[in-house]
Symmetry: C2
Subunit: 317 residues, 2 copies
């Protein structure tokens, strides 16, 4: 990859979706490929306006735009885009409180994970690549139970109550952002393995024509039997999309062929090649998923392409 000029605008990726939709797992691998020294991670949850106790008292959920400093998030993204550092707020998920802010220095890439990061036009305009994650809803419940009990000090009952309390806000505020994404990523168990929650999950990508997606022709199946399939379809909103399905049963050789193809399309970044698809399963065990790896690589492809385009634009200024 070419050196990135210090004053170049960062390439900004959004990973938006509901609580426990897999945002951090998806983006963690992408940051690892690009190199943690080249990536600034921004959690939009840090822009919560109230601590957990205040939210309960006021009756506002973390999913409600009014419960978040949306305008400040937008301001901070604009500043990062201009290459300026920010002093960003900090929300402490373990204790549910607002903490002292921290400096975030701009880096060549910024990954923004959040519930509401596509809520305004101003926010959406900041992103180079917009991903929306919407796993199967039963799967998301299992992921949320596993995470919130293990890492955030909730009981299973509290998590279920929280999911109930948030449902209306999810429909009102989170799901409408799906339409703005360039790529919608949906992890789901195969019909014959409904309890699958890890490496065996299938992943479906809606590839909207808002980004120039790579030509996957050389590795596509005709018959859809070997775990990697692309088809033209209409999205639930009626818009035309490409649907790229990757099966949780894809074999390692086949997955590697797809990886090889994607890396070959961004030769400038080939030195970054590293193992992908790592995740922690709901038992807390480190594991690897081929569909996750390919999903991460597909998104990384777009980030590298955007960085190269920005570098070329800069050369011609």
């Amino acid at each position: 990859m070419p050196p990135i000029a210090a004053d170049a605008a960062p390439i900004i990726l959004g990973v938006v979706g509901d609580s426990a939709a897999g945002k951090s797992t998806l983006s963690g691998g992408i940051a690892a490929i690009l190199g943690h020294d080249r990536v600034a991670m921004l959690q939009a949850d840090d822009y919560h306006r109230y601590c957990r106790a205040e939210r309960r008292r006021i009756g506002v959920t973390a999913l409600d735009p009014d419960g978040n400093h949306i305008d400040i998030l937008e301001q901070h993204l604009c500043l990062l885009r201009q290459g300026q550092p920010i002093l960003k707020p900090v929300y402490d998920h373990v204790h549910g409180v607002l903490a002292a802010p921290e400096r975030l220095e701009p880096k060549p890439f910024v990954i923004v994970e959040g519930l509401l990061a596509y809520h305004t036009r101003g926010l959406r305009d900041c992103f180079d690549v917009k991903v929306f994650v919407e796993p199967d809803e039963d799967l998301r419940t299992r992921w949320k139970l596993a995470r919130d009990c293990a890492e955030r000090g909730y009981t299973a009952d509290l998590v279920r109550q929280s999911l109930d309390r948030r449902e209306a806000d999810s429909i009102a505020h989170i799901q409408p952002q799906r339409t703005f994404a360039d790529i919608v990523v949906r992890f789901a168990p195969a019909a014959e393995h409904p309890d699958e929650a890890g490496a065996g999950l299938n992943v479906r990508h809606l590839l909207r024509p808002t980004l120039p997606h790579p030509d996957l022709g050389p590795v596509l199946d005709a018959g859809g039997k070997n775990g990697f399939h692309l088809a033209l379809a209409r999205d639930s909103d009626g818009k035309p999309v490409d649907v790229l399905d990757i099966s949780g049963r894809i074999d390692g050789r086949r997955a590697k062929a797809v990886e090889d193809l994607l890396w070959s399309l961004i030769p400038e970044a080939s030195h970054l090649r590293a193992p992908l698809g790592r995740f922690t399963d709901i038992q807390g065990k480190a594991s690897i998923s081929h569909p996750l790896a390919l999903s991460q690589l597909l998104i990384t492809y777009h980030l590298v392409k955007a960085a190269l385009a920005a570098f070329r634009d800069q050369g011609t200024r």
Copy 2:
């Protein structure tokens, strides 16, 4: 005063000087005249980079630019100037710790009090009126002892140690900002009352030609005997200045005549007229000082003039 358009750039006053130089007392009265709903107060101390314990461990004082987020302060002032809200950091002086940030909405006037708010060109460019306060050094020590022991939980010994530790940084970083001020305000006891620390203090103003100062002719003394005196002089840096002295012994009738003159020069703001010069003396008692009142009114005059000029400019855009 004319209504101020919602999208008008705020008028920004800086009150800069060393610790316990009287910044808050001076600016508190100005904010009271303008109306607290029309004034956003920004304490630059909130931009300390480290908590008290970290500063001690690292060996950096609060007066050192490296111990402060100077660039973020500059960024936030620019944003306020554009009429944008900010999420500003908070330094808790009582416990010496960094706390959760708070929103600050832009208002027609912003008063910035701080140690280092004129440290960079970018900062200085944000201000409409720049005041530097430099009381007599013995007086400042007495003020600092009274405040830090009463409000910030220090002992007298700790305050003296802190003054010693900070002296080099004060010379290196605070005092060089004096040259950028439009008005330098110096409270000092008269030679015959060296222990005076309150209402009887004299005040000297250096009025630099960087602002159009009001014509004080109608109330000036020829002989300098009745407590209000203007003279052309050279500043310690050799530059020409007007020196306006107000005596702590000025009588109430005379002080009122000066007040009347200044208010008559800004008739648009006459409805704001209110008692000025309030302060808390070193015994903690509420008191009134004529020199303080006149100092506050002189600065307010410039803020009102700047607001009127901005309003006129806007009308002709």
